[in-house]
């Protein structure tokens, strides 16, 4: 059974039609990449999947791990194993990263019928997962994303993903803002999280990321539609030719 099955998805934001009939199926263990020009709707798709209510789904059906996503609020989707690493992670003053992570991990554990982690177990888990993306200790003590550099925010997103162990990780331009070394570390971290069951949807503008996180499928999104799908070689083609051949009414 597919982990994620999107059929004819249409979505609006602020009254504008952004997604215009997306079809996408992701099976367990697969890595899919989505590329496409600025404003084509990639983040919109990610946020519709994550359950942001400012995006209005007008048509279509999304099945995630056997459930209809329409029935689940954002926090229930997260608990069910859907994780979005944001293009622009939000800064939250006054809540420490540690406190936030503990609340998140325990919410997800409760849903899975697992015991709540006490302070000691939680610290052990942190120590363990911290290695995945080599996150610095001082970032953990600070307020969530507050004053983090662009790259630190992205790394923190992947760290959270490692902590929450989702079934599907959606990475929205996680590579943008990362320096060359950080890109390698974060990609290695994502690869370390790959399992036969865990799937990824990787949104990116650059072929370079896909050299590290090698996708099974690449899709091209233009003006809210997937205009072409292929294997990893499609990303190379795009790198050379750009999106010119799909330039539509928006004149991308």
């Amino acid at each position: 059974m597919a982990l994620l099955d999107i059929k004819n998805l249409h979505a609006n934001v602020a009254g504008n039609k952004i997604l215009k009939g997306i079809n996408l199926t992701i099976n367990p263990g697969e890595v899919h990449a989505i590329m496409g020009p600025n404003g084509s709707g990639k983040s919109t798709l990610a946020n519709v999947l994550a359950g942001n209510e400012i995006y209005e789904k007008t048509q279509g059906k999304i099945q995630f791990d056997g459930a209809d996503l329409d029935d689940l609020a954002a926090h229930e989707r997260a608990r069910a194993g859907l994780f979005l690493a944001f293009q622009y992670p939000v800064e939250i003053a006054g809540i420490s990263n540690m406190y936030f992570l503990k609340a998140a991990v325990n919410a997800v554990r409760e849903h899975r019928g697992e015991e709540q982690l006490d302070a000691m177990d939680f610290l052990d888990l942190i120590e363990d997962k911290k290695q995945v993306v080599k996150i610095r200790d001082d970032l953990l003590g600070r307020a969530v994303n507050s004053g983090f550099s662009g790259g630190e925010k992205k790394r923190n997103e992947i760290f959270q993903m490692a902590m929450l162990e989702p079934k599907l990780g959606i990475l929205d331009e996680t590579d943008s803002g990362l320096d060359i070394d950080a890109l390698r570390i974060v990609s290695d971290g994502v690869n370390a999280l790959r399992t036969p069951d865990r799937s990824f949807l990787v949104i990116t503008h650059y072929q370079r990321l896909l050299d590290y996180i090698v996708p099974d499928f690449v899709h091209v999104m233009v003006s809210g539609e997937i205009v072409k799908s292929g294997g990893k070689e499609l990303a190379l083609e795009l790198e050379n030719d750009g999106y010119a051949s799909w330039a539509g009414e928006e004149g991308v």
Partner: protein, 392 residues
């Protein structure tokens, strides 16, 4: 002045002027006619309320009267005097600048008890002195008067806590006078947990000598109607006054905070951070007046009042008032009124945290900025829990 004479003068003021009305500029947004129109009894009874001391030394006042059985002041180091104000009348009592205000005058004319604390020069007290005021007498008025004197280079932490029995109606009308001598370090906290049907008014006035570090933190959760007047007088150079506060109001609670920071001499700092969380039909008034007198060059004064509105039915009046007569000063102020950050709430939700918990986390985070500044770990922990409980 003799106490008797002080009382007579105050009673005469009160008789002549009566309670303020909303026509009075300083009381424009706070209508005290409910207090003015209530007859309060002068009965007394012991209190059944429970309390938890936050320090090694504490005085317990039951419905306005000191209970020596419930208090504990043994083991105080030499040079520290703690007791009832009725046994220790300091000649400086009643010298505060706001003596003519109706609430202060009513207190001066009628106070029946209160705390007296005197720390000798050079003495440091490690444990806080906790003053606990228990109120569970319907229809009563409590006028307590506190007098705190910190000697030169002394160190002291005083916590005032007002606890009321739910659903009792009474009028608590307190005045605290603080004298902080040169180089002293004084931390003053007030935790107000009066009954939600009570009236609570307090004037706190602190006079600071040279190189004093003074802080006042006021946490307001209780009372149907109330007001804090907090007045700092910077009379010696090189001193720093911190006046922070947090008010958490719901139902139809109305709470007014009037700060007045008087910079009379050069090179003093004052920092004021007041945050409010308002729900349901609550009303808050914040008036922060900073006066920088002509001589007070190189003053550094910062004031900020930030409010979080949890419902559409609340109202807030935030009024900064800067009066600056010196030219070489740094003064900033800001007031904000906002709602919870939806984007932050969504972010928490995408990590599995449900909206209710997310709401509580973000609201707590808002309050936490004030708690972070609290030096006393006992106060920080206790008030932290009170805030958590309030949010639930």
């Amino acid at each position: 002045m003799e106490l008797q004479q002080l009382r007579e003068t105050a009673a005469a003021h009160f008789k002549a002027d009566g309670f303020p009305t909303t026509k009075d500029e300083r009381w424009r947004f706070t209508d005290v006619s409910r207090v003015a129109n209530t007859e309060f009894s002068t009965e007394w009874k012991a209190s059944n309320l429970k309390f938890k001391p936050l320090g090694d030394y504490y005085l317990v006042f039951e419905n306005g009267k000191l209970s020596s059985e419930k208090s504990k002041i043994d083991g105080l180091p030499a040079g520290v005097k703690v007791g009832s104000i009725m046994d220790h009348l300091d000649p400086r009592l009643g010298q505060l600048s706001d003596s003519q205000s109706a609430f202060v005058a009513a207190n001066t004319a009628g106070f029946t008890d209160g705390a007296f604390i005197e720390i000798a020069d050079g003495v440091s007290l490690d444990s806080p002195i906790h003053l606990i005021y228990l109120a569970d007498l319907d229809g009563a008025a409590f006028h307590v008067r506190n007098f705190i004197s910190a000697g030169k280079a002394s160190h002291v932490t005083v916590i005032e806590e007002y606890i009321g029995q739910p659903n009792t109606s009474y009028w608590s009308n307190a005045v605290t006078e603080l004298f902080c001598a040169d180089h002293s370090n004084v931390d003053h906290y007030k935790i107000q947990l009066e009954s939600a049907t009570a009236f609570h008014f307090q004037t706190v006035e602190a006079q600071l000598g040279e190189n004093v570090l003074f802080s006042n933190h006021s946490f307001t959760l209780g009372a149907a109607l109330g007001r804090n007047d907090i007045r700092g007088k910077l009379l010696g150079e090189g001193s720093e006054a911190i006046c922070n506060g947090l008010y958490l109001l719901k139902d139809k609670q109305h709470f007014d905070t009037h700060l007045f920071m008087d910079h009379a001499v050069p090179r003093c700092n004052s920092h004021e951070l007041y945050k409010g969380i308002l729900d349901e039909k609550a009303r808050a008034v914040f008036c922060g007046r900073i006066l920088v007198q002509q001589d007070a060059q190189q003053t550094d004064a910062v004031q900020s009042n930030r409010n979080l509105l949890l419902s559409r039915g609340v109202k807030i009046h935030s009024l900064p008032q800067l009066e600056i007569y010196a030219d070489d000063v740094k003064c900033t102020h800001g007031a904000t009124v906002g709602e919870l950050d939806e984007e932050a709430l969504y972010y928490l939700q995408t990590r599995g945290i449900d909206p209710k918990q997310g709401h509580a986390m973000l609201t707590y985070a808002f309050a936490n900025e004030v708690l972070d500044e609290v030096k006393s770990s006992a106060v920080k922990e206790y008030v932290g829990r009170l805030v958590q409980d309030w949010l639930e």
